[in-house]
Subunit: 286 residues, 4 copies
Amino acid sequence: MSDKNTFVLTITCPDTVGIVAAVSGFLTQHDCFITEAAQYGDPLSRRFFCRIVFAAGALTPTRTEFEKMFAIVAERFQMIWTLHDLTKKPRVVILVSKFGHCLVDLLHRYHTGQLNIEIPAVISNHPEMRSIVEWHGIPYHYFAVDKHDKAGQEARVMEVIDRVGADLTVLARYMQILSSDMCTRLQGRAINIHHSFLPSFKGAKPYHQAHTRGVKIIGATAHYVTPDLDEGPIIEQSVERVDHTHTPDDLVGIGRDIENLVLGRAVRWHVEHRVLLNGSKTVVFK
Amino acid sequence: MSDKNTFVLTITCPDTVGIVAAVSGFLTQHDCFITEAAQYGDPLSRRFFCRIVFAAGALTPTRTEFEKMFAIVAERFQMIWTLHDLTKKPRVVILVSKFGHCLVDLLHRYHTGQLNIEIPAVISNHPEMRSIVEWHGIPYHYFAVDKHDKAGQEARVMEVIDRVGADLTVLARYMQILSSDMCTRLQGRAINIHHSFLPSFKGAKPYHQAHTRGVKIIGATAHYVTPDLDEGPIIEQSVERVDHTHTPDDLVGIGRDIENLVLGRAVRWHVEHRVLLNGSKTVVFK
Amino acid sequence: MSDKNTFVLTITCPDTVGIVAAVSGFLTQHDCFITEAAQYGDPLSRRFFCRIVFAAGALTPTRTEFEKMFAIVAERFQMIWTLHDLTKKPRVVILVSKFGHCLVDLLHRYHTGQLNIEIPAVISNHPEMRSIVEWHGIPYHYFAVDKHDKAGQEARVMEVIDRVGADLTVLARYMQILSSDMCTRLQGRAINIHHSFLPSFKGAKPYHQAHTRGVKIIGATAHYVTPDLDEGPIIEQSVERVDHTHTPDDLVGIGRDIENLVLGRAVRWHVEHRVLLNGSKTVVFK
Amino acid sequence: MSDKNTFVLTITCPDTVGIVAAVSGFLTQHDCFITEAAQYGDPLSRRFFCRIVFAAGALTPTRTEFEKMFAIVAERFQMIWTLHDLTKKPRVVILVSKFGHCLVDLLHRYHTGQLNIEIPAVISNHPEMRSIVEWHGIPYHYFAVDKHDKAGQEARVMEVIDRVGADLTVLARYMQILSSDMCTRLQGRAINIHHSFLPSFKGAKPYHQAHTRGVKIIGATAHYVTPDLDEGPIIEQSVERVDHTHTPDDLVGIGRDIENLVLGRAVRWHVEHRVLLNGSKTVVFK
């Protein structure tokens, strides 16, 4: 572990006495300086979650050594743990259909360094967004959906995701329902933006549903993809006030801004390893 | 119509050319000075809604005369209309169970003049809130619910509502499901506070449902009572951000403040005649 | 006034009896169908403001005729009024420096039709944003600031604004202080985004000021440009919650999203003629 | 330290390697189970802050023993630290003038157990709120302000605060400016609610100032009292959207609800020992 590099350690395990003492003792002992730490013990599931950011010191061992030794601590507490080197940029693949606002927003955050990621590929079932994507120097993969061979199109999408080594796949208003198999394969590393305040208005045309019900606030939800449509663990939500004068089209317009914000935050938190899964829910260390 | 008195005129009718010209012409002609006006034409239902506040002038006729003459204008445009004298305080009956926060909040708004209303009665199926209500000099009617005679208890509640001449009945966390008959009788003049961001989490224990689903924002909804539980026209909603650290009890606590705000606004808007029904939705002229 | 075209009429005048009757009567008489109307009487300044959207009918006269006849009504009530044909897109010039987020956001809203405008020019004192602007097919004017000839650079900027016939000039994080003369010439048709919740933190580096003061909420403000720096009439503001963990750089990042939203709304409301000036304040008919 | 009791330990010290390891090691060693922990290292001031909630176990020593031993750890890291037994309710004295909404709100939160405190006294320079305070069974001290002897009135107020052993003094819209001496004596244990979004609109009549400036959002700020008026460390702020139709009186009404929320949160966080001072700012572990 090269000196001065910064790492994120995430841990999930049954809650018990001595976890923090053991982990912080281990880090201190190996010359690691904790710069951020957050923890949470769920009183219902009796599980413990933590995220620790630390800088390696002059006496910190190599990563292989470190992992071998930490595995002993981890086993004692039945930890599920990950260690990430923050100098390595996560590789994020973006899927999009015709509505490009979330894609454009992510590209701008990437372009200005707000999102510290690589984008090795953008994939779409429509050709419309090619030009802006290629302007950013990113390969654009256009795979049209053939009604009679949806599986074939999905296979081509998965092939790119696998080939470029995506750490995260973002469904930025990708208007295709993924197969159960693809959801399972991407579980925990695919984020979808749903254009409603879930669990309200699941499924299609949520802004029209919201208009029909006459709600006074609309929202958007970023969640992990699971085989159950719109039921995955929620990462972030945000809302905006509306009123009777807004048409469904107005709601779509207002919603765009909310979707951008919510998806931008969810992606950033994920790639900064701030989101831990707690059953069907998330623990987010902002 | 005594000189200087202020009135609110509300109108709903099919949208067409000349409504505003006819109404404002009528008012000008009868020496009425418009101090507030708001209107809305729904492009889907093709209906027109407006609310006009005006001060009667020296040459304004008596109310009976005024109404007789305005009825001619109204008939031409097939108007549903109401005329309210703002110097007459609406009579509001409050129903409550054990959770007193919404009641206490409404009483304080009433006490300080924020809500310009009379409260001729508070009715409860529990005795707990008697003391604070009577401190405000308001009669407290305690009707326990007999499992084998729910209809009898409801009849006693309705008897009070009718006897005191309630213009509005507020269900301030009244934890009894009203009969379809009572809902129908109070339609358009009973407001309920539901402790979730409808249409999410209908029915019982919404904060626990929200906790289980892991939402990042919770809310409350004030709506008109209809025979369809939690499906009535929404008047107002508000939300607050929560996170994984909040227990169901925390959500209940945070929710209380939202419920107070939302119900307080909905009651004020209703008694100021700012809320017009548009099918299963509302037009709110804030 | 060609049949079916839609117009916006805005009016400001001393408040008195009969304005609405006169205007709506005039429109009805000339076969105009009001689709939106909003009005406000300021009880302090005793001034009346309104905005009426109407569709011309088969019997509506030519625009010249219409204006000649309406001028008679307008004179009677001492009206300041404007009439805009909604089929003509407002011409918006954008000024930018190095921070491109607001520019990129406006370009995307323009590109997707959310902002129904023309952008005949983007002007900057830096070359950085040329590529993305020209990708949108918009001329980019780069005028470097010469410390010893600020007036010369400003003259070149004004020359473009005048030549392309800008209806509105937007300072999208343009980090130059305009001369008093330029402010005066653009008064009422130039919008600035200030990256704080005014009147807090005027002047330079507001996010750093906010960090030093330890505020728990930051914001952004869109306002009309006036010779008094950061004192112009406020059009829109929005805020976001922050906490002790946020560094000044974090605030800059969070602030970007707020600035985009606030400026996007202010520009839209302005070009839809929803913003009327009321002394040093605005009336915004959303 | 009786078994099963819950304690809060707060620590502030220079940031360095090994603090968390030392503290968590100490607690584990003395059979304490950490149920909540939050920490923050300020990269600018290089100071470390943490708050740990723990349950004493069967083998935990007496409080005196515990403190004696912990002092050794504390000295090593130059810690400023406090230890609170959560079973002991903090004693909160409330000061109020004529506007009673914040007082009534705090009393209701106290009454329903949302605020786990004792209120040994309410003090006022006006008699108006006596009745509701005494209804809650709390002594009401009315000390009128004599223009020629402000110091005498303040001395009587301080005498009550001292005599009842107040842990916290809350200025719930107490419209008297405290002397510099009193501010200094109460530093860190007195909270004021200012009815604006500080640092905007310091001083008197902030809602009128906000109306004059034409802001689109108003707010309230809870802060620790310091000799510099309205300049103390901010604990919490919240805001609400307003528009041109709101009169100064409307802003006062809307503001009341914000003040209640903000003050209610600040008091709760303070008595739960969630607020640590960081120079002129606060660290709030929500």
